[in-house]
């Protein structure tokens, strides 16, 4: 029997993923970002955006870790085994044709 699949869109995981969303959407609203400022010689808007691009990756790593910890790792392994089995069957049928 396959292990139960945890809810990927749990409130906790959605809250983590919402952090970069807020970060990006706040760009034009923050006076210290949205102005003709240079941070380390680079426009503040560019630096701020780069921070949140990296922030997106970091947030999704946390979401992924949380999902796998809640049983996602087992569900992934079961799904992979199922896909491998289907591929094997498909290949065998193809070989007989």
């Amino acid at each position: 029997m396959n292990p139960p699949v945890p809810n990927l869109m749990s409130p906790r995981r959605l809250a983590i993923a919402a952090v970069p969303v807020v970060g990006f959407l706040s760009t034009p609203l923050l006076p210290f970002v949205n102005g003709p400022h240079l941070w380390f010689g680079v426009p503040s808007v560019l630096v701020w955006t780069a921070i949140w691009v990296v922030g997106t990756v970091v947030a999704l790593q946390f979401v992924e870790a949380s999902y796998r910890k809640d049983g996602g790792a087992e569900a992934d392994a079961a799904e992979l085994a199922e896909a491998d089995a289907a591929e094997h069957t498909h290949g065998a049928q193809g070989g007989h044709r």
Partner: protein, 475 residues
């Protein structure tokens, strides 16, 4: 002439690469390749679809005229990766269980309504056509700007279109994935080369920004007319909703072809990093304000900077990368259009479906090439593409739920009203300031959907009561 020849040879090499695999023999194999794409194949395919000729030509042009507002592309691409991280695995799972080959299959099955499948297929195919033309025209423009030859433009468009037809027809999604690997590497290399040209040929990074800060500080914030806060917020929100819910039909096969949900999650959780390459065209566009006349056409900025700052052999590399940036999305879009038409719009025997599909691949590319060569302006339709396809977002969100409790008719009515709204705003030039028409049209779309669903539930409730009364009376 040597440059044109080198570029055409590069384009041919890309086409040959796409044909190097085995031939697809069934529609399912052609579209989703046995649903067995492992991590790296899937990654390159999805990364390849995310950067197009817009990233290559358009973004530098926006930065040239609008300054740092070009970062809206990084914002929506990152936010859409978040959306797709959550919904992509669910789409793949439903596709594997129910045998979907297209986005329209998903709608028809989830709402148990073939008409909805047909309407979404029609909307998707019509809106993708100008997007396909954009890629082919963009490819021609890249070659023309790199070589200075108008004849090279037409020749490269014809050669690239023919090769895309051949490799797409031959190996379907596997061919696209193979070319995408080379395209993804070439694209980053080309953007870095152009960046290097701007840094060494115009000004270093801090020097360029210091110069802009002193002579044109308006390019450093999001307060310019037309490129203001409202533009940034509405464009980012609407595009993130549309792309995050995968409303572009040609992006469905890569999702459906992934081997597992984990493969997709792995792609999306890293995909935003690939978008960092887009800082290169933004910097080039900003730096070019010191080099090019202010009336330079936006789409010409990146390649005019390249030709002004790089030796011709590096310009050829950049042009081949630009051509690949057009060919991969063009191949995916042609696949998207043809599979929607042959699977969801025409009735045909299963044994003939792949052959009929081939005809639609050829027709879609020929049509776009003809519009492109004739210089016909169907770009006004392109204005509808993003906003129009985003109107499928409410239906997608509803259909992804465990149980679909909303009727097909309310969803269909909402979709039609939303698309009509975008068309009305665009063609009648309704003054909406810097708001995005797609976001505005989502309002009536949702309103109609909610009202029609309320009516449906009330009618269904009344019908159930009258049936119960009739049964009670008989008893």
């Amino acid at each position: 002439m040597i440059l044109t020849t080198a570029i055409v040879i590069g384009i041919i090499a890309l086409g040959v690469l796409g044909m190097s695999g085995r031939r697809s023999t069934t529609m399912s194999d052609w579209t989703v390749s046995g649903r067995g794409f492992a991590r790296w194949t899937s990654w390159f395919l999805q990364a390849g679809d995310s950067l197009t000729t817009f990233s290559f030509l358009g973004l530098a042009g926006i930065a040239f005229g609008g300054g740092v507002v070009g970062v809206f592309a990084l914002a929506y691409l990152s936010l859409s990766a978040i959306g797709l991280y959550f919904v992509g695995p669910r789409m793949r799972q439903l596709g594997a269980e129910r045998g979907y080959l297209t986005q329209a299959d998903f709608f028809a099955d989830r709402f148990q309504n073939k008409a909805l499948g047909k309407v979404t297929a029609l909307v998707g195919a019509v809106f993708l056509l100008p997007y396909l033309q954009l890629q082919i025209t963009g490819l021609g423009l890249i070659v023309e700007l790199a070589t200075g030859s108008a004849a090279g433009r037409g020749l490269s468009m014809v050669v690239a279109s023919a090769l895309v037809v051949i490799f797409v027809v031959w190996s379907g999604i596997r061919g696209v994935a193979r070319v995408a690997v080379v395209k993804d590497v070439l694209m980053v290399a080309a953007l870095l080369i152009v960046l290097g040209g701007a840094v060494f040929g115009i000004a270093g990074i801090p020097e360029a920004f210091a110069h802009i800060h002193s002579v044109g500080p308006q390019l450093l914030d999001l307060n310019q007319p037309g490129w203001d806060k409202t533009f940034f917020l509405t464009a980012v929100i609407v595009t993130s909703i549309g792309a995050g819910l995968n409303t572009f039909p040609h992006l469905w096969p890569p999702v459906l072809a992934a081997k597992t949900g984990e493969v997709l999650r792995s792609n999306y959780k890293w995909l935003a990093l690939y978008q960092l390459a887009l800082f290169a065209p933004i910097f080039v566009g900003l730096a070019a304000t010191q080099k090019l006349p202010s009336d330079t056409t936006g789409n010409h900025v990146l390649l005019e900077t390249a030709t002004a700052t790089l030796p011709s052999w590096l310009v050829a590399v950049v042009a081949i990368a630009g051509a690949s940036a057009a060919m991969v999305p063009a191949a995916a879009i042609a696949m998207g259009i043809s599979s929607l038409v042959s699977t969801n719009l025409v009735t045909v025997r299963e044994s003939l479906r792949l052959k009929v599909n081939t005809l639609f691949v050829v027709a879609a590319i020929l049509c776009s090439l003809a519009f492109g060569l004739a210089g016909s302006d169907i770009t006004s339709l392109l204005l509808l593409t993003y906003g129009g396809l985003t109107q499928m977002a409410p239906a997608t969100a509803i259909a992804l739920r465990k149980k679909v409790t909303v009727g097909a008719v309310p969803v269909l009515l909402g979709l039609v009203v939303g698309v009509a709204g975008v068309a009305w705003i665009t063609f009648f030039e309704v003054p909406i300031g810097s708001w995005d028409s797609g976001l505005i049209a989502l309002g009536p779309n949702l309103l109609v959907l909610v009202v029609a669903e309320a009516v449906r539930r009330r009618t269904r409730g009344a019908a159930a009561v009258s049936v119960r009364d009739a049964v009670g009376a008989e008893a």
